[in-house]
């Protein structure tokens, strides 16, 4: 009777080890299966990518053959390439001037402006010192932060007008030219 009890206890001690072993085997089998499944799926995706790239190249070749076989399309294609390039690279002098002049406060006017692809130079006059000062201190900083192509802004001179009835400042905005 006592022997039976001992045997029973021994079996209970073995059981946790076996369960861990079985669980790890199952886990290993599942992990292996999943690994190979994912690897295989990756391989299939790689083949699909190659196939899609070939199809895209094929469409491009057929498209170019079609375009070059017809003079009108060839003319249009070359012109559009040039137009896109010109528009992409032309200096946005219009938007730069609009941006600067839209920020001029009341009472401040530009008596002289000189703009090129890489710079805008302005002579600003105002009867009010505070208006001109506001533009130089606040508005120029806003202009600078709004346009990432601005390299630097220099106030070249600041003083009284020749007539003595107002103030004049000369501002030079330099742009980054790519």
């Amino acid at each position: 009777m006592s022997l039976d009890v001992n045997l029973s206890i021994e079996q209970e001690k073995k059981e946790p080890i076996s369960r861990v072993l079985i669980a790890s085997v199952i886990f290993a089998v599942v992990a292996t299966g999943a690994y190979f499944a994912v690897t295989f799926y990756n391989f299939l995706l790689g083949s699909q990518i190659n196939s899609l790239e070939e199809q895209i190249d094929d469409v491009a070749v057929r498209k170019e053959q079609f375009l070059t076989s017809q003079d009108s399309f060839a003319v249009l294609g070359v012109k559009m390439g040039s137009i896109a390039e010109i528009l992409d690279t032309r200096a946005p002098v219009d938007t730069r001037l609009s941006q600067v002049f839209s920020q001029l406060p009341d009472g401040v006017s530009a008596v002289r402006m000189d703009a090129q692809a890489d710079s805008t130079r302005m002579s600003l006059v105002s009867e009010s010192l505070s208006s001109l000062n506001t533009f130089l201190d606040v508005d120029l900083a806003e202009i600078s932060s709004a346009d990432p192509t601005i390299e630097k802004i220099d106030v070249l001179s600041f003083g009284r007008t020749e007539e003595g009835n107002g103030y004049v400042a000369v501002v030079l905005i330099t742009y980054v030219v790519s």
């Binding site: 294609g77 390439g81 703009a115």
Partner: protein
């Protein structure tokens, strides 16, 4: 002793299986990043292919009338020759809209090509100088802005204005004869650009 060896064997085997399983799990997870990348690439390429095929089909279905219209817009934007009349007409048209008075107009014709001269660049430049009188700087800026959305395409090389008296240097462009070796393509972006250009001011 035998019992100890038996226990060690079992624990060792179980431990090894556990380590092996964890290693496989690690390997499995390393496959996830390339899997996600590949899935994203397949999706992007499929979209590209569909776009390319649609664009090609649209090109093939372009009627000769549509093609002529497109070429007309492109040729107005980028003329095939130095056309002083067209440029003068554009500048005076746009200037009149903004009460700008053109005082003088000159074109630097530049190099003159003879016969079969081959030019590598797909387009060349033509420099135009204009002296004008403007009622205000707002008018001058509107004039410039309008020129930037007008055909033929131009670029401001420089503009100077002192108390209403201004001088403007503009660069216009014209296309050179097509070199057969140049790759030709018309993309959906080009089609969109043509639609945009068709709404621009014309002389």
């Amino acid at each position: 002793m035998k019992q100890i060896i038996e226990y060690v064997k079992k624990y060792l085997v179980t431990g090894l299986f556990c380590i092996g399983a964890l290693f496989l799990l690690l390997l499995f997870t390393t496959q996830f990043q390339p899997l996600l990348q590949n899935l994203g690439r397949v999706e992007a390429l499929s979209a590209d292919l569909a776009d390319d095929e649609a664009a090609f089909a649209a090109l093939q279905q372009t009627t000769s009338t549509q093609l002529e219209e497109k070429i007309q817009i492109a040729s107005l934007a980028l003329p095939s020759e130095k056309d002083a009349t067209l440029i003068y007409s554009l500048i005076t048209t746009v200037a009149a809209k903004h009460a700008i008075n053109i005082e003088s107009f000159s074109i630097d014709v530049g190099e003159v090509l003879i016969g079969s001269d081959v030019v590598d660049d797909p387009y060349s430049e033509l420099v135009v100088s204009v002296d004008f009188v403007s009622p205000s700087q707002v008018n001058t800026i509107q004039f410039i802005s309008n020129l930037y959305s007008a055909l033929p395409i131009s670029e401001v090389a420089s503009i100077r204005e002192i108390e209403g008296q201004g001088s403007l240097t503009l660069t216009f462009f014209y296309s050179n004869p097509i070199d057969g070796s140049r790759p030709v393509n018309i993309t959906p972006d080009d089609e969109a650009l043509l639609v945009e250009l068709s709404g621009w001011t014309r002389p």
